[in-house]
């Protein structure tokens, strides 16, 4: 999983704990001045048009802050610590401004000024981001990703699979994500159900199920193949969509442990600054260095055999 240290995680949780404490303290302090129903939703003009009881309000706001805290604590990276502080600052600032707006005489209309109050929340976020930025120096730099050293030389290092001169070989493996399969099938199943049950304009939402389910299912199970054409990754159910790196474009292949969230920011077909990837889980991955320095990664078991065969085929291809 994520390589964040306990200290980094604690620092990421800190602003949310502070925001939660301040918000609950102010709520307790202003309890008597707050109306029986708190205005919690506002029209564009700032007029209140939605109300929530105090118990529900406290539960929902606390859950919101805790949820954000859990997300940031789980997925934080050192260089994004400031963003955790900014998130906490903005959420906390907004909640406090909401309480403040509710602190009025009984017959006055509750007004939440979008410009003013959002501005205050943003200002709090900026200050918090600054504090987070300053605190980043308390966390030691993350060690470089293992396996990224020694990137020079075409396929110089890396495993090999000895082949006789005329021998041909092919390696392939199906790999998938059960979670993605289940989610995609559910999304697909939701489409016809929504169309049947919901009234017409709302039923259009059911099409979302198709938009999510079809590509999801296509990617939920993929076949990774290494042969004389190069590296091919395609849906196990259909010949397309497909990603192919021809032997000409391969500089070398290696095996690396990949953290889906930390290295690629999630699952699926991922595009990053210097690398793309078909990432279905965290763990063993075949990483191909392409000419031009870009990397293509695919998470697959038995990646060592794949890398060895690919290196051997690239070397032989270069000789011919």
């Amino acid at each position: 999983m994520n390589r964040a240290t306990p200290r980094l995680r604690a620092l990421a949780a800190l602003p949310f704990v502070l925001a939660l404490a301040v918000h609950l303290l102010l709520f307790a302090r202003w309890r008597d001045e707050l109306p029986a129903e708190l205005a919690t939703h506002f029209s564009v003009g700032g007029e209140a048009d939605g109300w929530t009881g105090p118990t529900a309000y406290v539960l929902i706001s606390t859950a919101l802050l805790l949820g954000l805290a859990a997300g940031w604590t789980a997925f934080v990276r050192r260089r994004y610590l400031w963003a955790a502080f900014a998130t906490a600052g903005f959420a906390g600032g907004l909640l406090v401004q909401l309480l403040r707006a509710n602190r009025v005489d009984e017959f006055e209309v509750v007004v939440f000024s979008p410009g003013m109050d959002l501005g205050v929340a943003l200002a709090v976020a900026v200050v918090a981001a600054g504090a987070g930025w300053a605190l980043t120096s308390l966390v030691p730099e993350e060690p470089p990703v293992p396996g990224q050293e020694g990137e020079d030389g075409p396929a110089a290092d890396g495993p090999r699979l000895p082949l006789a001169s005329g021998e041909t070989a092919r390696w392939s493996k199906d790999t998938g994500s059960r979670a993605l399969t289940v989610l995609s099938v559910l999304a697909l199943a939701a489409a016809p159900v929504t169309l049947l049950v919901a009234t017409w304009p709302d039923a259009l939402l059911g099409l979302l199920g198709l938009v999510i389910g079809v590509p999801g299912l296509a990617l939920a199970r993929v076949r990774v193949t290494v042969d004389r054409h190069g590296l091919t990754v395609r849906s196990a159910l259909a010949p397309r969509p497909r990603v192919r790196v021809p032997l000409d474009g391969v500089e070398g292949a290696s095996v690396r442990e990949i953290d889906a969230v930390g290295d690629f920011g999630g699952w699926g077909y991922r595009v990053r600054a210097h690398r793309t990837g078909v990432v279905l889980r965290s763990g063993e991955a075949l990483v191909v260095r392409r000419d031009g320095g870009r990397e293509f990664a695919v998470t697959v078991p038995d990646a060592r055999t794949a890398a060895a065969l690919l290196n051997t085929l690239v070397e032989r291809h270069g000789k011919v």
């Binding site: 082949l163 005329g166 021998e167 041909t168 070989a169 092919r170 042969d227 004389r228």
Partner: protein, 118 residues
């Protein structure tokens, strides 16, 4: 699963393909119930004729290691016994090759096999 064929070898290409599947099943890199690549696809990858691949698959089917189903392609037989069966078939083939080297006739080899059973 890794497939490799060497045209320079004296072993027929179809048998080499069958041996790859047996080996993969025995060492765990292929699992019972796993689907083999489509014959056309595998033939293209290895640069051999489709019929060569189909001959290999047919041999595996006779050995009870895979099932050939219309529309579904070739699937390794499900069940925990499949890897052991693959190992047994491999050893039998080795024994047959050895018998051939020793100059035994088919009848003599079968007689020998029957004697070891009783």
């Amino acid at each position: 699963m890794l497939f490799r064929v060497d045209p320079a070898s004296s072993v027929p290409l179809g048998d080499q393909i069958a041996a790859c599947v047996r080996g993969a099943l025995a060492d765990g890199s292929a699992e019972p119930g796993e689907r083999l690549p489509a014959a056309r696809e595998l033939a293209d990858s290895l640069g051999v004729n489709v019929h060569t691949v189909l001959r290999g698959y047919q041999r595996l089917r006779e050995e009870g290691l895979i099932e050939l189903r219309r529309g579904r392609g070739a699937v390794i037989v499900p069940g925990v016994a499949a890897p052991d069966r693959a190992r047994l078939v491999s050893r039998l083939r080795e024994a047959a090759a050895e018998a051939r080297e020793l100059g035994l006739t088919e009848a003599e080899f079968l007689e020998l096999a029957r004697t070891s059973l009783s």
